[in-house]
């Protein structure tokens, strides 16, 4: 039996690891794992495991704090380090950092720079250090979730939890979608083998705090897309489905993370 999702999925409607299309992997998380930092977290989604620590807000380095950018609010610095033992085959990166980790770092920096209430901390730096201990797909999404937890642990104000999730399609999805004969299913929270063969996107959403009198009556919180990243090719008619599934996954993850944050105070 071939071991890839695109051939077996139409027959069984089950993915490689036995999940249905809309199921997340097991998500486990912990906050305050490292007493030496302002905030820290450990998060695992399936076999992807990430540790994250936050230092600051602290006085920035002399060179940057004097710049115009520092005076408006805190600067977010992100450093991503994928451990050599994280993937199946050990990979030695040449000269400090590789492309994948610097892309994740750039995305995280952009996301959290605009997400956090940085204006409260002028002339300061919030530095986030992400260590990927084990990589099995959805790295960016897991890193977003781990950073959110660590930032909450550090007590840095933000309008809502920023959570990330991946979604993909169960086939190559390169031709326009046929609404009458829809044989491709969207998939939630992809693992590494799925990521390598299927088109997928990473979406990060956040809820905003209700402002104004009308919003107080709304039952549902409004979710906003804060991060959207896609590296693979897919026909644009599928984007909407993937986005909807991804945002639904983000909401599920948000509930899980809220449980982690609330549960951590009991001890």
């Amino acid at each position: 039996m071939p071991l890839d999702t695109s051939t077996t999925y139409p027959l069984t409607r089950l993915r490689l690891d036995g999940r249905r299309w809309n199921e997340l992997r097991l998500l486990q998380a912990q906050i305050s794992t490292n007493p030496a930092s302002s905030g820290s977290s450990y998060l695992s989604m399936g076999n992807t495991a990430i540790m994250c620590s936050v230092h600051g807000p602290a006085e920035g380095r002399r060179g940057e704090a004097s710049g115009a950018a520092g005076s408006a609010g805190a600067i977010v610095e992100v450093d991503v380090n994928v451990a050599g033992f994280a993937s199946v085959d050990r990979r030695r990166k040449a000269g400090g950092s590789d492309k994948q980790s610097s892309r994740i770092a750039t995305t995280l920096r952009a996301a959290f720079q605009s997400h956090l209430h940085t204006y409260l901390y002028p002339h300061s730096t919030i530095s986030i250090h992400v260590s990927v201990l084990s990589a099995d797909g959805s790295l960016l999404a897991a890193a977003i979730n781990a950073c959110t937890l660590a930032l909450v642990d550090a007590g840095i104000p933000m309008p809502g939890l920023l959570t990330g999730c991946t979604s993909g399609m169960s086939g190559s999805a390169s031709t326009p979608r046929d609404p009458r004969n829809d044989e491709l299913d969207p998939l939630l929270d992809l693992s590494l083998p799925e990521e390598q063969e299927l088109p997928f996107l990473t979406v990060g959403t956040t809820t905003c705090v209700p402002v104004g009198e009308n919003h107080m009556e709304d039952e549902e919180e409004e979710t906003k897309v804060a991060v959207l990243n896609m590296d693979s090719k897919v026909h644009f008619t599928y984007i909407e489905t993937m986005l909807a599934v991804g945002m639904d996954g983000c909401n599920q993850i948000r509930e899980l993370l809220e449980g982690v944050i609330k549960g951590s105070n009991r001890g």
Binding site: N34, N47, A83, G95, H129, L133
Partner: protein, 380 residues
């Protein structure tokens, strides 16, 4: 972080005033009963939390965290690799058996380069001095351990030739071991003991798949992870008295400092700042053997000396001249005023080093205590 990049082999000096340095030095060098800033006894280690086999994707892994928040994670990965040396050796051995003894022995006893080690410390590049120095120092003792025949018991047959020998599969194939050390926080004190203890624990939990092929066949492994064998073979029941100390264990590097006549283990951040001569030593477990001793330049050498009152312009006439009389220090041969900090120079006395080694190696000593403590960590 740019200032940290410049830090050399000695870690950064915490900012302590000469008065503080002098106070710490005096309390630590009290004869027979040194007083440490955190109230520990000289041989007591800082409390730590340890766990092993935390990463399912590695052959072996461990995490150790000290109470001050410094944490390290080590992952060990093994790959099968073709032994380059032996291909021509095999051919030549059929022709003439006399001349190939050197290269055959390399294929049979293993090679040091089969163990690769890399250390990542936040704020440092891979090729900075500190990570390179630390990893080479740890790799050296790892590879060099049990070089002189570890197979002195029946249980140790598989471990003959030490770690290098264990990595040999057959004449044409061998394991390559990658040890990746991840320091998760800024190095508050000299990170070597933490890294070494974590590596020790990770290596203890490292398993290699069971070999199914025999002799010189291309290696073929049992895909059942349950029957995988430990890299460092362990006796079936560790609790059996006497047996536990027999099997080979990976070496551990301990950081020891000497202050005056005193020997102090596992120095904390403040203590290391002024240690007159820190000594690193590797112990080889098993029958507890001393592998190597290495001295590290202490950060205290870079500190500013204090000015005695008699030479201080601001204090002119304020103190009676009898208060600070210079005393000739018998150890250094320099004139010193008690209570006034002066960076220590010079080496360590032989007796102090002997005392250090004795404290570690004696039955029930520090070395045994550390190794047994680490063994107690649940490996399964």
């Amino acid at each position: 972080m740019s200032n940290q990049r410049q830090a050399s082999s000695a870690s950064q000096t915490p900012h302590l005033s000469p008065a503080e340095l002098s106070y710490l030095y005096t309390s630590l060098s009290l004869p027979k009963s040194p007083i440490r800033p955190d109230g520990r006894s000289p041989t007591q280690f800082r409390p730590l939390t340890a766990e092993s086999n935390i990463l399912p994707g590695t052959n072996g892994s461990a995490r150790i965290g000290f109470a001050d928040g410094t944490q390290a994670i080590v992952g060990v990965k093994a790959e099968v690799e073709k032994t380059v040396l032996s291909t021509d050796t095999l051919a030549s051995s059929e022709v003439g058996e006399g001349e190939d003894s050197t290269s055959t022995s390399a294929a049979a006893s293993g090679h040091g380069s089969w163990v690769q080690m890399s250390i990542e410390i936040p704020g440092f590049r891979d090729d900075d001095a500190l990570p390179v120095f630390l990893s080479e120092m740890m790799r050296e003792s790892l590879v060099g351990s049990v070089a002189d025949g570890g197979g002195d018991g029946d249980g140790d047959v598989t471990m003959a030739g030490g770690l290098k020998g264990r990595l040999v599969i057959n004449k044409r194939w061998h394991w390559r071991l990658y040890i990746d050390v991840l320091l998760l926080s800024q190095p508050l004190s000299y990170p070597l003991p933490l890294l070494s203890l974590t590596t020790h624990l990770a290596l203890l939990s490292t398993k290699l798949p069971k070999l199914k092929s025999q002799g010189e066949e291309d290696p073929f492994f049992d895909d059942d992870w349950e029957v995988a064998e430990y890299l460092y073979p362990r006796s079936s029941n560790l609790k059996a008295a006497g047996n536990a100390s027999q099997h080979v264990r990976p070496p551990v590097t301990l950081l020891v400092i000497s202050v005056g006549e005193n020997v102090i283990f596992d120095p904390s951040r403040e203590e290391i700042a002024f240690l007159p001569s820190p000594l690193l030593r590797d112990t080889e477990a098993g029958n507890l053997k001393l592998l190597s001793i290495r001295t590290v330049d202490p950060p205290s050498r870079l500190t500013q000396p204090a000015v005695p009152n008699s030479e201080n312009v601001n204090m002119l006439g304020a103190t009676a001249p009898t208060e600070d009389i210079a005393v000739l220090n018998p150890a250094t041969g320099e004139e010193e005023v008690p209570g006034v900090w002066r960076p220590r120079r010079g080496g360590v006395k032989r007796s102090v080093i002997a005392n250090m080694i004795k404290t570690v190696l004696k039955k029930g000593g520090v070395g045994e205590e550390v190794l047994e403590g680490l063994e107690g960590v649940e490996v399964e």
